[in-house]
Symmetry: C2
Subunit: 271 residues, 2 copies
Amino acid sequence: MRRSVFFISDGTGITAETLGRSLLAQFDHVVFDEQTIPYVDSSDKAWEAVRMIDTAACEQGRPIVIDTIVNSELRRIISHAHAFKLDVFEAFVGQLESELSTASSQAVGTSHSMDAQPDYAARIDAVHFALDNDDGARTRYYDKADLILIGVSRSGKTPTSLYMALQFGVHVANYPLTEDDFEETELPAALRPFKKKLFGLTIEPGRLAVIRRERKPDGRYASLTQCETEIRAARSIYVRENIPFIDSTHLSIEEISTRILAAIGIKRRPA
Amino acid sequence: MRRSVFFISDGTGITAETLGRSLLAQFDHVVFDEQTIPYVDSSDKAWEAVRMIDTAACEQGRPIVIDTIVNSELRRIISHAHAFKLDVFEAFVGQLESELSTASSQAVGTSHSMDAQPDYAARIDAVHFALDNDDGARTRYYDKADLILIGVSRSGKTPTSLYMALQFGVHVANYPLTEDDFEETELPAALRPFKKKLFGLTIEPGRLAVIRRERKPDGRYASLTQCETEIRAARSIYVRENIPFIDSTHLSIEEISTRILAAIGIKRRPA
């Protein structure tokens, strides 16, 4: 079974997509052909969206429309489309207005704008922090880190650091554990003063070998034996030093990030 | 006016946060004290959440709860809390079930898991592509880029590239325009073969000076005159070469990214 889906918004469309995909993930035996129409902020653009929906309706049965448009006039136009429509603001904003005993501002496209994000500059700052303190390149700013991720090469440190910075404004450094570190009986000197900020990543050796092979197909680096040895050594550091750690093998970056933040109790900053 | 808000989820909590902040952004005269409780996937954790909500209720009046828990038994527990509750799945999943004439899977925490993201590996791949092709460090993979962002130093290229990669799985390289490039009457040689992939960023000189000063407080780099000169030169390249561009001054990364993708018609991959 196939269905066309339209995520329609007067802003970035990120809220409509995020909510919509969450809901549609509950119907795993339906294939959804998704399309996002962002910045629908005029009646012309709303009518253009209606035309796109109606065209899809001719091809594949009634489309599903998930709509986060704030302006009720534009929503009214969208409702002319031949579609099954989930109207997010209609469903919830009225309820919130009565609960808060106040009218909503009906402001368009606000939720992912800079103005709606008091900590916006902090997120950008966090991205630069993550880049500057990526892969152990620099360790002298570790005192400013909220968190230092450690793990073997390609265990997921960099994408996780960047996601935490972009989404949650958390300052994350990351440090790769290498063979030099495994031979020591102590933590690497750069990490020792910041033991409380450390969080380890581990991963199944087979999965790591696949990831490394994409990067460097040949040589010891991507061999299963090497991956096994490194991961075993990294885990024994975590256990020896009592460092919390998480297995990234079956988790998305979103899951790794949110589980770590929940585990260490760092407050997420608004994204 | 202040209100406590709880975003509660059986997964990462990202959907609850994204939707919730969208809705709350419509009430700009209320201060919301936000808290996310992710991974509420057992009755113990649900009761623990109820306790947290009730504690907040004692301190600050009835909290608002935005709940994306799938399991109806856990939702029932949450509804014991003394709170005003927006129940996302109750509002929409039933409607979708009738529209699709099929039952939902009631699967917990699926929407931000790897399994729900067929293009998950593509997103990670895109992050590494963005890092490897950041700041003009390497130009030999430009043939593999979906898009090449150009602009002066600190105009927002790197955070935008990373966001597009993480959120949409788009392969974005970026190339800094410098004084060497401004003296030429042609595009930089590395960019010339890929003119159709170029997108320019511009920014108000005053804003750029502020951003640069945070990085390097002294010297010509952060001076207003220097910023003005560089931005004027970059803009004249965009105009001369007919390269589309966007002013990043008042836009968030989310807005810059989604506007660029909409302008050039690159399809977003699921995030």
